[in-house]
Symmetry: C2
């Protein structure tokens, strides 16, 4: 039977989207594996081009592998900092951009670029839709996590080749996102980058057009 | 005040994710522009790398531009069909892959690749995260639409260069998705591609790993 979603649900869904946040301050309390895998189950109902379902979720439990990822972040972050100057550099240096050391859960999300699932339907003129499918799963996971009281952060300041190597996954899998999950140490409605004056929200009239 | 999401909301959120569906069969009833723009407003609260908010939403109202998009689909779809053979080709030919002619709303979603918003934060080693941010907004829009009883379909069988040209947008904007929206003519829990035996759901154990 077709479900219907009432105004109260819709209002709460909007609140969920607004409160999602990229979390970089985690409590160290462990989160049971089953709780994360239940979020992944929801994420696998995201749309995928041609039903290709290219997402591969890798729990990183090995301390050595985690250390390699943190090393990759540190190097990339130092190079990024060096690329800014003056006040912007000072602001950048003051931002907390990841929670890799504190987060109890590290989850890499990759795309199996060699998958035959879906038989290539919908990918022929826009092959990037394979990775886009993985991103749709990640955003679904993010919302499901927040609804369950779990915070998530997406770390993109790292060398994807170095991280993929540290993960020891098949050659044709490519890294789409490296995620940290855990209980948030604090909760905010506004993004960290807005709160610390890195950037502001864009007005709707500047992103909606008619042709 | 920090919101909390109870088990009933979480169960309904999961139902929303499962019932989302890529809709290709639309009723022709018009959908008011404000209703679509309210969905876009929610989508702009999606995560974006460095708060870059690169998403640009373009309502396509001109019949000439819509015709150009349909022409691009038709050509790409014929080429795709020719690439399959035997039974797979027959199945492909029987699938309804888009609702471009019936859908009352055509919405192109592009990335402003030249934006300075966010000052490049988080994009330096993984520049693809700019487009990924746009995809996160699209999946958010998709869920918000379904919660509001509106169906959405993502058409990727088209030539992005031809479509971008038909839209007459700034040179450094690139097409991430061409979407159709409207009231669904039918509702299904299972994907069209599963119902018509193109592909099946992958088992969870084949997509979750530990390292």
């Amino acid at each position: 039977m077709k479900p219907s979603f009432d105004p109260a649900f819709r209002a709460q869904f909007r609140e969920l989207v607004l409160w999602r946040r990229d979390v970089r301050r985690f409590r160290r309390d462990p989160v049971p594996r089953e709780r994360i895998d239940a979020l992944i189950e929801i994420a696998t109902h995201a749309p995928s081009v041609g039903l290709s379902q290219p997402w591969r979720f890798v729990h990183i439990e090995s301390p050595e592998r985690r250390t390699a990822v943190i090393k990759s972040f540190t190097g990339a972050n130092e190079r990024a900092l060096a690329g800014y100057s003056g006040e912007k550099q000072e602001t950048y240096a003051s931002l907390k951009l990841e929670g890799l050391k504190e987060a109890p859960v590290h989850l890499a999300v990759l795309s199996d670029d060699g998958t035959h699932t879906g038989s290539g339907l919908g990918q022929q003129t826009m092959p990037e839709t394979l990775h886009y499918s993985v991103v749709a799963a990640i955003q679904t996971l993010w919302l499901a996590a927040r609804a369950d009281g779990i915070g998530m952060g997406w770390v993109s300041i790292l060398d994807p080749a170095a991280v993929t190597k540290a993960l020891d996954v098949p050659k044709n899998w490519s890294l789409v996102a490296y995620l940290c999950l855990g209980l948030p140490a604090e909760e905010h409605l506004d993004p960290e980058l807005e709160r610390h004056h890195w950037e502001q929200r864009t007005d709707l009239k500047d992103v909606v057009f008619t042709r």
